[in-house]
């Protein structure tokens, strides 16, 4: 709150005070050429271990435990005394910084790795504006369907290859007294998960047009998505969205999944350790499949999410920061990061992570999957933040889909008419 109401000098004093306090309490800093700010406090050791492999630079890595204060601190610092490197959110969530010229163009580094065949050019899509790439990935995640293999085994089901097979599985799971698909709108943001999934399963081109304001929320494709969603809820294939997201105890979607009360849930691959933490074994008791397209002849596709690391244009140590980005894109850094985090590697030379994630990435790479940017990053933040509340209203009352579509279009119109 204080950051909101303080003035320029006061903000700087507060910022220095907070940063100093964090450095002292976290006991993680060493004098270095490259500073890195990030908001994933739990990853601190992994950042340190990976960057320790860089022989050219030393690092001062500062974690922030609260996302809002992190965002405020980074935004305030970008014109004054920014860190060399900082993590952020992809797509439209980084566009403001790009438009304001506050982050460095990293295209030359991408060109180097893409031309040598070490990195896929597709990966850069989430960080590209006007043909230039402004970030490298710290996190890569795909959004497959998690399914409970114990339930599948008990009911004699097999992994669905088509939309019809998947719906047939849902019917049998429902008949067994379970909920086929878990969904949640806890914390607002998860409301977009099934909205985007239903859209891309019918018409991924339309989805991308909708994200960019070239299509409307009142178009028939959106209505079809809502109607499919509604029919699933009406049939009792999905729960009411009221369960919490991921706690392993209590009334949460993940806990219901691990007990087999809920047979599927659609979440990013970063959720894997939480699922296993719920008490069921990866591979043996739970696995992944990618939701099939409604039309089997369409190119297979999957939602992906990328978390960026950016270089501040006004950083004092910009050259060292650019060198650090070069190191980050290397096979060595990518292999270490994957080994520690189990994320899909950004460098194709690095080994895939073990287990289900590795198999999924192999399937995506070998199967020619179209990788589609997640709603949260693919559409302007102003639309997305308001849209998740509207979509939540649909989950609360599926019969309201027409009003929701109108409201979504009003939100989109307000944004696109001014931008």
């Amino acid at each position: 709150m204080l950051v909101l109401i303080l003035g320029g000098k006061m903000k700087k004093i507060l910022f220095i005070f907070l940063s100093t306090a964090l450095l002292l309490t976290a006991n993680i800093s060493k004098a270095g050429d490259v500073t890195l700010f990030h908001d994933k406090a739990g990853w601190q050791d992994w950042w340190t271990e990976t960057f320790a492999m860089d022989g050219n630079n030393s690092y001062e890595i500062t974690p922030f435990s609260d996302t809002s204060s992190y965002q405020a601190a980074v935004r305030q610092s970008l014109r004054a005394d920014p860190p060399g490197l900082f993590t952020w959110w992809a797509g439209y969530r980084m566009k403001e910084m790009v438009d304001s010229g506050l982050v460095e163009d990293l295209s030359p580094i991408w060109d180097k790795y893409v031309s040598s065949g070490e990195v896929s050019a597709d990966l850069a899509k989430a960080f590209q504006f006007d043909g230039k790439t402004y970030a490298v990935p710290s996190l890569i995640a795909f959004w497959p369907m998690y399914y409970n293999k114990n339930v599948y085994k008990e009911l004699g089901l097999s992994e669905p290859k088509t939309w019809e097979e998947m719906e047939s599985n849902f019917e049998k799971i429902k008949a067994s007294g379970r909920t086929p698909v878990g969904q949640t709108i806890e914390g607002r943001w998860p409301a977009f998960i099934w909205f985007e999934e239903f859209l891309i399963r019918s018409d991924p081109d339309f989805y991308e047009d909708l994200m960019e304001g070239r299509a409307k929320y009142t178009d028939p494709q959106v209505e079809e998505a809502f109607l499919t969603w509604k029919s699933w809820m009406d049939k009792g294939w999905m729960d009411d969205g009221s369960a919490a997201f991921g706690f392993t105890t209590g009334d949460s979607m993940n806990n219901s999944f691990s007990k087999g009360d809920v047979a599927h849930m659609l979440v990013g691959t970063w959720f894997a350790s939480t699922v296993t933490g719920g008490g069921i074994a990866e591979g043996e008791e739970w696995g992944y499949f990618i939701v099939p397209n409604k039309d089997a002849s369409m190119q297979p596709s999957v939602i992906f999410e990328a978390g960026p690391i950016m270089v501040a244009a006004n950083a004092k140590n910009k050259d060292a920061a650019m060198d650090a980005i070069d190191f980050w894109m290397s096979k060595e850094a990518s292999a270490k990061w994957t080994e520690l985090m189990f994320f899909p590697p950004h460098n194709l030379g690095a080994a895939l992570p073990a287990g289900e994630v590795g198999q999924l990435v192999k399937e995506i790479n070998d199967g020619g999957y179209r990788q589609i940017n997640r709603y949260w990053e693919a559409t302007p933040t102003e639309i997305c933040e308001a849209a998740v509340d509207e979509i939540s209203k649909f989950v609360l009352d599926p019969s309201s889909y027409k009003d929701v579509m109108e409201n979504l279009q009003t939100i989109a119109d307000n944004y696109w008419s001014n931008n």
Binding site: M1, L2, L4, I5, Q71, A244, D251, E385, K393
Partner: protein, 292 residues
């Protein structure tokens, strides 16, 4: 040092640290917020002066109807319940032996942080939480519901949690008031036949009315700017159905980084709080004058 030899100058010296602190961490940010509310500050680009645009937007935006409505609901019920129940407890305690223990029990929730209380009630009000378990146990299954997921139940549930936490403070205010009440007038009323509710409504409450005014205004100020409980329990959702103005301010400021607009919401909340505070301070100061 001759400057400090004069009594008047010494007084300035003693007051200076407090004045500097209040100026620095209270007055200055308030003025900065006021200035910010007339700009398009986004925390990233240089802010431009846009006049009253943020305020016009605030009053024309239909999205604000629900937060304003919810804030009114909060202001009314989160004032009435804690004050009324606080008085009820304070009055009843007079007749209880070893009432100190009960006072501690009722006051204890006030020592818990609002965020911690929010987390606690998040579990209690959960679909499989304590409230629903009790309702099932006593045969009221038809009342079992997801208290934080449906509107308006979520707003009233949160007000319930807030009441649990703030009743103790009001009880303490009323205990002080009741202890300071002249016993002669009370005895005289009893001799004249006043008892039960007549005694409470016609004699006791009028006699401690200044304490009612103080407790009510304090509760009004706090409930109008409530944030922690709502943010922790529902984040104003689902679908913004439980959002209050302070949550709106936070969303605009720290989710969308429309800091100028968030500042205008902050100014609105502060202005209303200022009006309540004026009456509150006037009541307190008048009471102190009477005491002197």
């Amino acid at each position: 040092m001759s400057f400090l030899k004069k009594d008047k100058n010494q007084a300035y010296f003693y007051v200076a640290p407090a004045v500097i602190l209040v100026g620095l961490i209270c007055i200055y940010p308030i003025l900065r917020t006021l200035v910010m509310s007339f700009t398009d500050n986004d925390g990233l680009n240089p802010a431009k002066f846009i006049g009253f645009d943020n305020y016009v937007r605030l009053f024309l935006d239909p999205n604000y109807i629900t937060p304003i409505y919810n804030t009114i609901i909060w202001t009314v019920f989160a004032t009435v319940f804690p004050v009324a129940i606080g008085f009820l407890f304070a009055y009843s305690m007079q007749f209880l032996p070893r009432s100190n223990y009960f006072q501690i029990l009722v006051y204890l929730p006030a020592t818990v942080s609002a965020a911690a209380a929010g987390v606690l009630f998040g579990f209690i009000l959960d679909k499989s939480g304590l409230i629903n378990q009790i309702l099932s146990l006593i045969g009221y299954d038809h009342l079992v519901r997801d208290w934080l997921f449906r509107a308006p139940e979520n707003t009233y549930s949160m007000i319930g949690a807030y009441t649990w936490q703030t009743t103790g403070i009001n009880m303490m205010i009323f205990i002080v008031g009741l202890q300071g009440m002249p016993k002669e007038q009370l005895e005289a009323a009893k001799i004249d036949g006043a008892k039960g509710l007549t005694l409470v409504f016609k004699i006791v409450i009028p006699m401690i009315m200044p304490y009612f005014v103080i407790a009510s205004l304090l509760a009004l100020i706090n409930s109008f700017r409530v944030f922690d409980q709502v943010w922790v329990m529902t984040q104003g959702g689902p679908g913004r159905y439980s959002e209050v103005l302070a949550v709106t301010m936070y969303r605009e400021g720290f989710v969308l980084f429309d800091l100028g607009y968030a500042a205008s919401v902050a100014v609105l909340i502060s202005l209303v709080g200022l009006v309540f505070s004026y009456f509150y301070l006037r009541s307190v100061l008048v009471k102190e004058d009477v005491g002197n």
